[in-house]
Homo-oligomer: 334 residues x 2
DNA sequence: TTGTAAGCGTTATCAG
DNA sequence: CTGATAACGCTTACAA
């Protein structure tokens, strides 16, 4: 299977390579009708297929963007990635998705890899562990957009959600239902959103004049959640409501609840921060703080595109609001 | 930001381009220690970053594979894609994922697009609507692996699961629990796996000498499922068990069940064909026919790699077994 | 052990 | 309106 190139097409059609190139790029303003016809025929005849690698080399543009996700296990990451991919496909681009697995070394490797592949820009859910690299890209003015997590001290377009306010709203909802013993489970406080969610929780309690109780606030690895819940539910004063700060924590919580046969929402009201695909159809349905994944992905893509086109002036921070969707799981009263 | 090329590095290090190239490709068998040092320093100094596009053009290999998924909304598709991506990253490759959205035109567009980008091969969840294109690739010996769906008359490596047997096993399980009125809901019978799943259902009933009942067998678009269920559950003899032939149908079924307040498994036993992420933690837990997504993805990747390396002799068909995971939702007895 | 030079398949810049 | 010709940045024989 010899590959057929533009030169072959040119020869077959009896024109020059440049004319064929013009034709392919639809720049036929000054092109004779019959020339067009000849070229079109030659292309069909030979089964010519353009080589975008060659084109990219010349144009210094690959029409690809890279997406580096901190941890693909979070549902919302895949939703945002999908939104970005949709945007790409609508704009004749492609996306390459990489999973950094919460590991800064992997993240670094992928950034380098994707840049070596000459992707036009990068959308990163940053691990936070590569400040130097981030700054380098900022200074080179290489197109980058951060998503989900804000990184201090780096001036790069960033799209996040109002973690604090949304959590505060959710906890207030529980307070208004009469709950006073409200627990929160988060992963370790290694990222900005997690800190903000916890801060939102505290803020709500303070606003209602409720004292914080360390026993109800656990920020631990997923694998340790079940242990902490054991302790929490052995307290003389058990929590009557619980907020899971993300989907993975929620799964742990649910499996604990199931094992202990705790009834939701009668014995425990539950709210999750994150989009849960079955929130609507499970029994009970689950109250969630929903992130607008589609909008986030779209905005990130637009920002990146703007940078690629060199239309960006200054880096900006976009904060999307989350939506508290009240369902059955938070309906309990203490 | 002028891009720094190999030539710059060569000049800085006082050697030739080819020596730098050797160095980068770790072919330093005959390279002087000090030459190495000089080059390494020059690279750091200049912040040189290799350009894989140029390399690809020369080598006629991009170290990328394309994945074209018939419909990304199916959980199992994303699981398999992820497994393929994992394999890629372990083997210094990258994957580009495209969603054909069950549309043969889109599929065609993506196949052409990805080939223009010179991906080394394609893993396709075929829509089935591009036989001509499939055959073309077969004849060109372009590396392709089909996943999930077998296409008749095309000789291409294919990885599928034992749809018929697995469904038969699941239905037999219901029969053994005493059910006689077993319904099945599938999407329209436009693909091989769907036909096979229905066939497995029929086979089980026949083996138990139960007559087929058209009222219990519905193969319709997702949007029409709810309507069909209305009818089905208005029958004088309602089904006591139901099999959802994939995850999307299942969601419809669940939302119907929830609306009608049908109790699972007491009033209706339910089994789903497909991996459902919350099967384990929902109430009740859900009996599933689980596809080995990881193995499927891995095998597909291996087959493709073999083809890319030109080690493949003949196209093969791999059929992986599914696992019936019995949980609470199928525990009911009529 | 290292250098030279010829591509890889396009596009871009000028002439004509 | 079309055609030469020179890049794009790298790899790879082959020479030295």
């Amino acid at each position: 299977m010899k590959t057929v190139t533009m030169a072959d097409v040119a020869k077959e059609a009896g024109v020059s390579k440049s004319t064929v190139s013009q034709f392919l790029n639809e720049r036929y303003e000054y092109m004779g009708e019959e020339t067009k016809e000849k070229i079109k025929r030659a292309i069909e005849q030979l089964g010519y297929r353009p080589n975008y690698v060659a084109r990219s080399l010349k144009q210094k543009r690959t029409y690809m963007m890279g997406i580096i996700v901190a941890n693909i296990m979070h549902r919302v990451s895949t939703e945002i990635s999908r939104a970005i991919e949709d945007y790409c496909h609508e704009h004749d681009m492609h996306a390459i998705v990489c999973n950094a697995d919460d590991d800064p070394h992997k993240e670094k490797k992928y950034i380098e890899m994707l840049r070596a592949r000459q992707v036009d820009g990068l959308i990163i859910f940053p691990t936070g562990g590569n400040t130097k690299l981030y700054t380098e890209m900022e200074q080179e003015r290489y197109p980058v957009v951060f998503v989900d997590r804000k990184i201090e001290g780096v001036h790069i377009d960033t799209v996040v959600v109002n973690n604090r306010e949304a959590t505060c709203e959710a906890v207030s909802h529980l307070l208004e239902n009469g709950h006073r013993n409200i627990a929160i489970v988060t992963p370790p406080l290694t990222t900005h959103p997690r800190k903000e969610r916890l801060a939102g929780y505290k803020q709500a309690l303070e606003q209602h004049g409720i004292a914080l109780n360390e026993n109800y606030m656990k920020s631990v690895e997923i694998s340790a959640i079940s242990y902490e819940l054991e302790n929490m539910f052995s307290l003389s004063e058990k929590p009557t409501a619980l907020v899971a700060a993300n989907d993975l924590s929620f799964f742990e919580v649910m499996s604990f609840i199931k094992r202990k046969q705790i009834r939701i929402p009668e014995e425990l009201a539950v709210i999750v921060f994150d989009n849960i695909p079955f929130a609507d159809i499970s029994t009970p349905t689950i109250t969630t703080i929903a992130q607008p994944a589609y909008e986030i992905g779209k905005r990130a893509s637009e920002l990146l595109t703007r940078q690629i086109k060199q239309e960006a002036i200054e880096s900006e921070l976009y904060t999307f609001p989350c939506e508290l969707i009240i369902r059955e799981s938070s309906a309990g009263r203490p």
